[in-house]
């Protein structure tokens, strides 16, 4: 295994851009509340914490986190911590994690390479959350019930994300955000037009500026919450393209950082779709498009750039007939289907030329699904898409309800209620349809979903993360992040020490890399030795505004042992 990233992208070097394998991750916020409990600002805080409490993960909660279950919904808040990252727990089962983010239970899938695995891992995380929901509800008194919904807005002006993360090269990131703005506009235009494939659908109050209500159905849960093209922010003035720069592949060190080579696109644009086909498309299309941009294969093609993507997404979202047009920079007016076809054609040529080799597994299969779905949309063959696209399935269900109760319309509370019930984690309409065989599984079989509830992906560092957590057990895990784990250990003389293993390279530490280590060793210390962790961590010190390790301050010791601490060999270091 290696913490060096140089070996992971060398197979992908064509044209003038190097493409990083398009590793996938996600962080997905649920809508959560407590029925039967009144609180002025909503019950999300209580609900999310009660759900998280039922999840078994590491590190264990700090002592301030009460373990009492006497009245969990009424306990006082624990001491203030980061409201966007509260109580994070990594799972020894699949290597993913859960935590509370701004009072939403947030699910993070373990790192996977292909879009089909991504869909399976996404549903696996939902099942883990559902088990927690049912356990928590079983403990509650009559009249009080936790509800969790896999959607992205509460119908009262608040939105929460279903973020899709894709690995990029640092060079590709810099081009996208700092040097070639046409790439940014292409990416935004692609995302915006993709809502016809990736929207969950929602009932919108459609409140006019004059205050009158004129409800309607929208394709996208998120469309009306985007206000600008690009920016690092996620909770206000939301951008179509998020520029948050968190590589999650190693801390800065005196001699550089793995993130010098890797970056991660944190896309906040998409909805939490549930149909496997829509999830595969959401992830797979983005893998292909980002590879295309990263390969520097996208010239400034005005026919792929909307004049105003923010305005376009709001208009397209409100048109379930798919006829509304938006203006390109060429001056031409196109529908979302038209623009998706243009992107598809470019993507297909790119894939056929080998552009996705080494970067996007199953790229051809993704193209086939993409093409077939666009064909059906072009024919308005909605009956054939009920099984594949959430917004079509939800629309069908809501229209069915309005047929049965003709006095209902898009402003009726009952219809909004059904909108929520579609993605209700416990007894949602989507799962009723899935169990009835209505939903296409498109290469995401039940067995794969089940597997990811219990086992990590085998081709990413999630494999080693999960197995290390299992081996260590709860008492010895001090701290976990995506790219490292710190353990509390006892030396032979009883002294407490800490050892940190670096998992900087997301594509290393796979099953092939480390299975033999775990099979042949039951002693954590020995495993950490073999994984390259130093004997003990240096004592932490605070330096300036940031966190440094003792001896890592370049002003003090520019050739510190940090590379060893990072778990990297000298040869890895020299390769950088």
């Amino acid at each position: 295994m290696s913490n060096s990233i140089s070996d992971t992208s060398s197979a992908s070097c064509k044209n003038d851009g190097v493409v990083a394998p398009k590793l996938l991750g996600s962080d997905v916020e649920l809508g959560n509340c407590v029925l039967g409990l009144e609180q002025e600002y909503g019950t999300g805080a209580r609900a999310s914490r009660a759900l998280l409490r039922e999840i078994e993960g590491f590190p264990l909660p700090k002592p301030s986190f009460s373990s009492s279950w006497v009245s969990p919904l009424y306990q006082s808040e624990p001491p203030a911590t980061n409201p966007q990252d509260w109580g994070r727990k990594y799972l020894p089962t699949n290597g993913g994690c859960l935590y509370v983010d701004l009072d939403h239970l947030e699910l993070c899938t373990p790192e996977v390479l292909n879009a089909y695995d991504f869909a399976a891992a996404f549903h696996a995380m939902l099942r883990i959350a559902r088990a927690a929901l049912r356990t928590a509800n079983a403990r509650l008194p009559d009249g009080v019930k936790l509800v969790a919904v896999v959607n992205n807005e509460d119908g009262q002006g608040h939105s929460y994300g279903s973020h899709l993360n894709l690995q990029m090269t640092r060079a590709g990131w810099d081009r996208l955000f700092h040097r070639r703005l046409h790439q940014l506009l292409m990416l935004a235009s692609f995302q915006v037009s993709s809502i016809i494939l990736t929207g969950q659908g929602k009932v919108s109050s459609g409140r006019s500026r004059e205050g009158s209500e004129k409800g309607c159905y929208e394709l996208s849960q998120r469309a009306s919450y985007f206000e600008c093209l690009v920016g690092p922010q996620t909770t206000y003035n939301r951008p179509l393209v998020n520029s948050r720069d968190e590589a999650l592949c190693g801390r800065f060190t005196a001699l550089g950082c793995p993130a010098d080579k890797f970056s991660r696109l944190h896309s906040i644009f998409f909805d939490s779709t549930l149909c496997p086909a829509s999830i595969v498309l959401r992830a797979g299309m983005m893998q292909i498009l980002l590879s295309l941009l990263e390969r520097n294969n996208a010239n400034a093609d005005f026919s792929l750039m909307l004049e105003d993507p923010v305005e376009a997404v709001a208009r397209w979202s409100r048109d379930a007939t798919l006829t509304t047009s938006a203006r390109l920079l060429t001056g031409e007016e196109v529908s979302a289907i038209d623009l998706q076809r243009l992107f598809f054609d470019k993507a297909a040529r790119f894939v056929e030329s080998g552009g996705c080799e080494g970067a996007v597994p199953a790229a051809h299969e993704i193209l086939v699904l993409w093409a077939d779905t666009l064909d059906k949309l072009s024919r308005r063959d909605f009956p054939a898409l009920v099984s594949r696209l959430d917004w079509v399935l939800k629309l069908q269900l809501l229209e069915r309800a309005m047929e049965q109760a003709p006095d209902l319309n898009w402003t009726s509370p009952e219809i909004k209620h059904l909108d929520f019930k579609y993605a209700d984690l416990d007894e949602g309409l989507f799962w009723a349809c899935d169990q009835a065989g209505v939903v296409e599984r498109v290469g995401v079989p039940e067995e794969r979903i089940q597997q990811f509830t219990q086992e990590p992906p085998e081709n990413s560092r999630a494999y080693t993360r999960a197995h290390l957590l299992r081996l260590a057990g709860p008492e010895r895990v001090e701290d976990v992040d995506w790219d490292r784990i710190t353990f509390k250990l006892r030396s032979q003389i009883g002294a407490e020490t800490r050892r940190t293993v670096a998992l900087a390279n997301p594509l290393s530490f796979t099953r092939r890399d480390t299975e033999a280590i775990f099979r042949c060793n039951e002693d954590l210390d020995e495993v950490l030795d073999l994984l390259g962790a130093p004997d003990r961590d240096p004592e932490p010190v605070t330096y300036g505004g940031g966190y440094w390790l003792s001896g890592s301050n370049p002003a003090v010791n520019p050739t510190s042992h940090l590379l060893t601490w990072r778990g990297q060999s000298d040869s890895d270091a020299s390769s950088r």
Partner: protein, 66 residues
């Protein structure tokens, strides 16, 4: 193992081959699918419509989010 090998690894492939249009556009398939959809949905729709929708919708209020 280099990256190309990793991506050619069977574990990186979709678990089963993709076929376009597996949802089936022929009439019988669509009728069967519609019947299954209605059977699955009707009970849930009935439950939702008999509940206090205003109270449920109000309870769904969230504070912020990303």
């Amino acid at each position: 193992m280099n990256q190309l090998e990793r991506n050619n690894d069977p574990s990186n492939r979709p678990p089963e081959p993709q076929a376009a249009g597996t949802g089936g556009s022929n009439l019988n398939d669509l009728r069967r699918q519609a019947a299954a959809l209605h059977a699955a949905a009707d009970a849930a729709i009935k439950n939702a419509l008999s509940a206090n929708s205003k109270a449920f919708n109000s309870s769904m209020r969230q504070e912020g989010g990303q």
